[in-house]
Amino acid sequence: MPSTTDPRTRQDLSRAGESASSADSAHGGARDRAVPDRAVPDRAVPDRAVPDRAVPDRPASNGRPARASAPRGEGHDDVTVRLLDAEGVRHPDAAYDRWVGDVDDAALLRLYEDLVVVRRIDTEATALQRQGQLALWPPLLGQEAAQIGSARALRDDDFVFSSYREHAVAHARGVAPVDLLRVWRGAVGSGWNPHEARMAPMQVIIGAQSLQAVGYGVGILADAEREGRTGDTEVAVTYFGDGATSQGDVSEAFTFASTWSAPVVFFCQNNQWAISEPVSLQSKVPLVERARGFGMPGVRVDGNDVLAVLAVTREALHRARTGGGPTLIEAVTYRRGPHTTADDPTRYRTSAEIEHWEARDPVARVAAHLRGRGVLDDDVEARVQESADAVAAELRAGISQVEDPSWEAIFADVYAEPHHELAAERDAYARYLDGFEATGEDAR
């Protein structure tokens, strides 16, 4: 694996929770199978587009009757899985508690540290872009819990196909912070070796990676069948956003994964905005409802609740590992920063909306919960912040040391096998550059 500043690269949160599988069997295993007519088992979706969204710029109703829904505990709406509310109060959940039964105070504290560190990396990267060290940066501010909660549920041998904002996922896969930034400096096409990190390079074409995850999942199935393995396969996990759900590739990925029962988890971070376009422009129905039409389970989770995200992701992973096929997870969250450092969100959204989501901060609620449990105090918080600052300092020192590749790199790796014509083009360009050297001029 790539080096990391965090010696505790992998929390062992990937295997835990699978003990819940026996409980599933006892319950008839309904959640572990793709049952088209029970796609969202007890998460009936009311006729509101996004319950958590404060901005009234969408239709209040799509005109369809709400499905009957089981009442959930205090602090829940009828749909969204939430274990830790915005104030840090832990709410019991009959369906999902068992998926995080092993997450004790210490484990939750480690998740909290994760959240603080990736937020600090993100802040530092934005600053580095402003100072000219990076060409561009797409901040993840606000989406830390969605990414950490899901990524920490993965096993080392799972494989991730992500979009371009999943810095926290890559961090959890063991990618060193400076490697996260190299691509945004414009130095390389991929900051890490995908086979080592078990994560494909970030994908810029919206939604294209979802199909690639399905193909990887099909390969997992074929390998398992050839090797006579059953019941505990790897899983391909793909991350995409609300905007991507409008792409044909994502719909095709849903179809392929569903009809082939591929071991795939579709993790949609609904961060409410695709640059300047609100999610209401992408879908008339809650995104999680897409799952039903494709015949796979779907679950909507409070994407700012790291514990709930961990729980629903573990459930989906378990389903995929045990032959239950794909799951769509809609993590409802919010992109509090700009789309990228080149964006100006003041042109399309209000500060009131941002304040609404700041009150649902993914880090603060874990801190509040841990303080209530006596696990976190000022000293511990200061220590966590110090270690995050150290990561940022190392990142800052490291990124300025990343040298520009030599020009020959643009010709390397275009083809795997000899390509005499391209080699000739490269040589002609080298002669051209040599001409400048001979006259003492700068070719550039």
Binding site: F159, F161, V188, G189, S190, N193, P194, H195, A200, P201, I205, A208, S210, L211, Q212, A213, V214, G215, Y216, G217, V218, G219, I220, L221, A222, D223, E225, R226, A236, G248, D249, E252, A253, T255, F256, T259, A412, D413, V414, Y415, A416, E417, H419, H420, E421, L422
Partner: protein, 343 residues
Amino acid sequence: MTAEQMTLARGLNAGLRQALTDDEKVVLLGEDIGALGGVFRVTDGLQREFGPRRVVDTPLAESGILGTAVGLAYRGYRPVVEIQFDGFVYVAFDQIVSQVAKMRARTGGAVSMPLTIRIPVAGGIGAAEHHSESPEAYFVHTAGLRVVSVSNPQDAATVLRQAIASDDPVVFFEPKRLYHVKGPVELEDLGAARPMGAAHVVRPGRDVTVATWGSHVSTAIDAAEAMADDGASVEVIDLRSLSPWDADTVVASVRRTGRLVVVQEGPRQAGVGAEICATVTERCFEHLQAPPVRVTGHDIPYPPAKLEGHHVPDLDRVCFGIDQALGRVPLDVPTARPEEVAA
């Protein structure tokens, strides 16, 4: 080992069977390639022989086929994708040009994309709209891809094996007109076969070079025979590979003959023929005795079947092109404002 007579489609089938037998990581993906054996029967019997995990019927979505093939390649597989008809490949364009073609460079060589993308190509068979396209130029223009087009059953078998064995992605064009044309195929000793990227002088000649590929190799051979009766010695080159293309073989030929005709079915503008003419002009300028001549499809959408004879180069148009190169008839290059040129 004696050669066996078989159609180009059976040659492809034999090549696929060998690849599936030799390498368990070879998987076939496509629409109707299983029980049906593909609409042209190229995969006939393969699913029965190798099972539905190796010969996979996909949902009807070409981008989905290519995208899943990318994921299979990540997993260490060597996918062979069938696009049912040339005109259906465009919806997979992003996965091919942005994903398949660039993945190796994007990852600094860490991730290879050993895909073979089989595409039935070109017209002349009286087909419906979107079933007769010649889209090779799009892919030739894309770095990271290799592009080949076969013209006979032997190449169908051997070049397909070479394409599947290549660690680079290969767009593999199969001229529909030739699927049922028979020829000798030697299935042993493929290692001794001509390299995938090498052109082949299929008929030597002294007076003019005709460079082409795919179904128009046979058109060019027919034209060469007709011109022989007319006292002209025509050399015919089957390019076989369009990216990279074997410029050395063409240049060597034109330096001898001094004249070049390129035959392509696709539209004239920015076609592969234009690239060949430009390169030959750069490298053979002092040897040329006449401007290079392009015999091509028109710059039009592929016409309805009853009119395709006016679009697809045929024997007469190739002979006319050769006559122009030989100076036997005036060069007639399409020119928008001939009076201005004259002035």
